[in-house]
């Protein structure tokens, strides 16, 4: 096979929904209670041990005893027996409601969600109608017509509550149909029905199960209510609602009677709801866990505070007149399976006034985390473990949140990757510029407006007045990025962090934005840290660049030198894999494998497994950044042996070092 061997796969075991559900104790308890009820109501009649209609005039209204575990009622009937016999109806009728609502609602919802205009209209009107009808009145009317035929009444209830199912299934279907894999299935020649069953329904199933559990709980309560009103089976047939009614009739003579029936209803409703909640959490999957683990975050927060306190001891840094930003030994960690992993490892970086430094790397190398660490905007479960971020002689890392907030906009500002999502769709561009202008610069309303218009003009917008009045959705992506740049410049920051500022834009717009940044920098003299994966962008705008791999800097050099004579095999391989002067049919040099996951990063060279130059020495010790020619640094012990990029005939196997 001509392909480089398969990349290393991550081996995250994917547990089934059932496993994830029943790892939660409440799910086991709830399911246990329901199973117990079902078993008891099936087995008890078979044994003939207790009968719900057997009267014992000698023992009426008794509290629990060894003969009658839950006591007896006013005719001396065993309450336990009556509860268990009543459970069958309670459960069966609740499930009937669920079944009817799903059978009615799911197909209608699917029909509506699949984009059929008629289907959508009919389903929506049906759902509206069901929601507009006062349910309890309909049920009472049905009971007067069909008598005490509970299955029919409950079926009507099922139809009434199906409106919720319709809306849920419709929404889920509409979301699923937009997925590319549904397009792919269409192109694969699958019929509409097959697509519905294989690709859409599985997505609907989860939320549907959750909704069903809620419906089960609601219908049990409704059923009990109806039976309590005497609309259930005729006495002496036992029913849960009937038991509650009997208990309330005897509430002064034997209060205990209320406990078994009341508890049975409450526990079962709780069980339905808890089971639904457990399923919902299981469906939400591991992505949710970080939000649901405040305890762990608290630990992270505490360790951050400790680290801060330790640093504060020797944190007074001499102000370097030339350096606008000094990043010293910054490490970033995140919790994983009880331990921690290091995402960014001891990053050092100095940016002079008016200088642009690029942070380059592929996804997962830690470049964005580094940028966020500098900005002090790390995600909540990620910890700034150590290091200093010094601007104007002050260490941002040791500041309190309040102090740090004051540095934002004036000392340090950022340009987002996706300008469209960075602007608030609810406010005009003008509002989003004048508000920070008034806050940061203390301007009046009129002055702020002047300033905003000036900045928009400065950001290369030809008609600032129009853009000032526009909402974000009314302007293009390139225009939005110009607005974001204008926003970042309000407080005349000393340092500007731009995280992939042009990745979401077209190349012609990208070129304009880079020109704009260059011009603004010349004018205002700020330092720019530019995070990018695009070596062309580095060539265009960066004075220096540092290449990151697996959380570490592997090379830093002047841009010209980095691109013409790279000093690390990873940089060289990256440069080689760009299609440039190659022809159709030739093979591009590639790097075998992928970046390993953070928990698998070795202490020795992290690129070793993919490096053609690897020696035993690379795998035994941590490799420091080694100074090479021209003030560059490389984390490679064979840095002197590298060839120049693009010097191999295309199509030959990738050999990194010189022959």
């Amino acid at each position: 096979m001509m392909m480089p061997a398969a990349e290393e796969t991550s081996s995250v075991p994917r547990r089934g929904l059932a496993t994830r559900t029943f790892r939660q104790p409440r799910a086991c308890l709830s399911a246990g209670w329901l199973v117990l009820l079902v078993l008891a109501s099936v087995i008890l009649p078979l044994t003939g041990l207790l009968h719900p209609l057997t009267q014992n005039p000698a023992a009426i209204l008794q509290p629990p005893s060894s003969a009658h575990w839950l006591g007896t009622d006013d005719l001396g009937r065993d309450i336990l027996a009556r509860l268990i016999y009543g459970a069958r109806d309670a459960l069966a009728l609740s499930l009937e409601v669920v079944a009817v609502s799903v059978i009615v609602g799911a197909p209608l919802g699917l029909w509506a969600g699949f984009g059929s205009r008629w289907g959508d209209w009919i389903s929506a009107r049906f759902a509206d109608l069901m929601l507009a009808i006062p349910g309890i009145i309909v049920l009472l009317a049905v009971v007067t017509i069909v008598g005490n035929n509970m299955p029919t009444t409950m079926a009507v209830l099922g139809v009434l509550v199906s409106a919720g199912i319709i809306r849920l299934v419709r929404a889920c279907t509409q979301a699923a149909v937009k997925e590319l894999y549904v397009d792919a299935a269409r192109v694969s020649g699958l019929s509409g029905r097959r697509i519905a069953f294989r690709h859409v329904l599985p997505n609907v199933a989860g939320p549907l199960i959750v909704q069903a559990s809620t419906i089960a709980a609601i219908s049990l309560l409704t059923l009990t209510g109806l039976q309590f009103l005497g609309l259930g089976p005729n006495p002496p047939t036992p029913s849960w609602g009937g038991l509650v009614a009997e208990a309330s009739a005897n509430i002064y003579r034997q209060p205990w009677m209320m406990v078994p029936s009341g508890l049975a209803v409450i526990l079962t409703v709780l069980a339905f709801n808890q089971l639904g909640d457990a399923l919902r959490d299981a469906l939400a999957g591991p992505g949710r866990s970080s939000l649901l683990a405040p305890a762990r975050n608290a630990v992270a927060e505490a360790s951050r505070r400790t680290a801060e306190a330790n640093r504060r001891a020797g944190s007074r840094q001499p102000a370097d007149s030339d350096a606008a930003l000094i990043v010293k030994g910054v490490s970033v960690t995140a919790p994983l399976n009880g331990g921690t992993v290091t995402l960014v490892d001891q990053v050092n970086l100095t940016v002079a006034k008016g200088e642009t430094v690029g942070i380059v790397g592929e996804s997962g190398c830690g470049k964005s985390m580094t940028a966020l660490a500098i900005l002090g905007l790390l995600p909540s479960n990620v910890t700034f473990a150590s290091g200093a971020v010094i601007i104007g002689g002050e260490d941002l890392a040791t500041m309190t949140d309040n102090q740090r907030r004051r540095t934002r906009g004036t000392r340090i500002a950022s340009i987002p990757q996706e300008p469209m999502t960075a602007l608030d769709p609810n406010f005009t561009v003008g509002k989003q510029l004048t508000a920070p202008a008034r806050r940061l610069l203390g301007l009046t309303r009129g002055q702020a407006r002047e300033e905003a218009l000036r900045l928009l003009h400065e950001a290369g917008i030809v008609s600032p007045e129009t853009v000032f009045r526009s909402y974000p959705h009314q302007i293009s992506g390139g225009m939005a990025q110009r607005v974001c740049i204008a926003q970042a410049l309000i407080g005349k920051p000393e340092v500007l962090i731009a995280d992939e500022p042009t990745t979401a834009l077209d190349v012609t717009v990208q070129a304009e934005i880079l020109d704009l940044l260059r011009g603004l920098q010349r004018e205002m003299g700020m330092a720019i840290v530019l995070v990018t994966h695009d070596l062309g962008v580095v060539a265009d705008i960066c004075d220096r660049a540092m290449v990151m791999y697996a959380g570490q800097i592997v090379e830093t050099a002047q841009t010209r030198q980095l691109l013409s004579t790279p000093a690390h095999p990873y940089t060289l391989s990256l440069l080689d894999s760009v299609p440039s002067r190659t022809n159709r049919g030739t093979t591009l040099p590639t790097i075998a494998g992928t970046i390993p996951r953070p928990e698998k990063w070795p202490i020795s060279c992290r690129f070793a497994d993919r490096c053609p130059l690897v020696r035993d020495a690379c795998r035994t010790q941590p490799i420091p950044l080694i100074r090479t020619t021209g003030g560059a640094y490389s984390r490679c012990i064979r840095t002197g042996e590298l060839r120049q990029p693009g010097t191999l005939p295309a199509g030959s196997e990738l050999e990194v070092f010189e022959h």
Partner: protein, 341 residues
């Protein structure tokens, strides 16, 4: 070379009434057997919409699409499973183009099952064959997309596209969501598979260097219209249309000095004419073109043959009435440096 796909005067319209948008406006091109044709353009150029209409996912408002002489638009509607065996697709985002709830084995098996006519045993053998072809281990069959990296998922998507041995695969930005090193692997995979199977690609991309590497012919689109079409190397190395020149000049080179040159050239090759409306009856590029004359705003240019290419620009049409008609882009500006991108 026999023609596999022929697109004539394709128009796609979205929305209705006053908000109607011409996403694709009178586009014609063809793809030969075993050939790779590329549609290049920026967002809003209509390139993906054209690709989606080739797959029966978007319904054109007019124009003809012939696949081996048969009407493909009707074909997708009436005989979807038949066309599925001839025309397939690789989409941009391998995260959403694979159903997360299905195993890789199920994903690859599904088209075979939909097509029918293959025993379970043969289908399993075919799935294993495809995994070999895209360089994934057989063990991948039992695993879910989430367990793989983006590059590996795109390999699965490519395997799914080729499992029915189609003759044409529409690749909609198949590498633009991937990292540089993975991108090269997937590009290599696409060209190897092309050599092994003789499949044709309709390759949709915004990335000229990638297109130059993979394609035989390139069609450059801007705002739903063809600007220039011709051999991929000619279009990339010696662009004719002012828009193609602007596009090439904007795509950065990984070389500090060359990039500086290119940057200066780009400044000459683009203009922003805020006074001109974007929607004009003439050339859609007129609001950004440094050579715009009255005729560019009023009249839509005709396609003019120029060397092996066709260029849709008044500058190259001797009868256009443009002050520089028939002369092309002024020679005083240096042509785009060959291949330097």
């Amino acid at each position: 070379m026999t023609v596999l796909l022929e697109v004539k005067n394709l128009r796609v319209t979205f929305g209705g009434g006053r908000k109607q948008i011409q996403a694709v406006n009178d586009v014609s091109f063809s793809v030969g057997e075993g050939e790779t044709a590329a549609l290049v353009g920026e967002s809003g150029s209509g390139k993906s919409t054209i690709g989606r209409s080739m797959l029966g996912l978007v319904r054109p408002s007019s124009g003809t699409v012939l696949y081996k002489g048969q009407d493909m638009i009707e074909g997708w509607r009436r005989r979807r499973h038949e066309f599925a065996r001839q025309v397939q697709a690789v989409f941009q985002d391998p995260n959403s183009s694979l159903n997360p709830l299905m195993t890789i084995g199920q994903i690859l098996d599904e088209p075979l099952r939909a097509a029918g006519q293959m025993s379970r045993k043969n289908a399993a053998a075919r799935v294993r064959e495809m995994l070999d072809a895209v360089g994934l281990p057989h063990g991948a069959q039992a695993r879910y997309p989430a367990e793989f990296s983006a590059g590996q998922r795109q390999r699965v998507a490519i395997a799914r596209a080729l499992v029915l041995s189609p003759r044409l695969v529409v690749c909609d930005e198949p590498v633009s969501a991937l990292d540089l090193s993975t991108q090269a692997q997937v590009i290599n995979l696409l060209s190897t598979l092309r050599e092994q199977t003789g499949v044709s690609y309709l390759f949709i991309s915004h990335d000229l260097p990638v297109v130059r590497h993979l394609a035989d012919n390139t069609v450059v689109l801007y705002r739903g219209q063809v600007m220039e079409a011709g051999p991929a190397h000619d279009v990339a190395d010696a662009p004719l249309h002012p828009y193609t020149i602007a596009l090439t000049a904007a795509s950065p080179v990984i070389d500090v000095d060359k990039q500086q040159e290119r940057r200066e050239r780009r400044r000459e090759s683009t203009a922003v004419r805020a006074d001109l409306p974007l929607d004009v009856p003439g050339c859609p590029f007129s609001a950004r073109c440094p050579f715009t004359a009255d005729v560019c705003i009023s009249t839509r240019p005709r396609p003019v043959p120029k060397g092996a290419s066709t260029v849709v620009c008044h500058l190259y049409d001797p009868q256009s009435g443009h002050p520089r008609s028939g002369h092309g882009v002024p020679a005083s500006r240096p042509p785009a440096a060959p291949g330097a991108m």
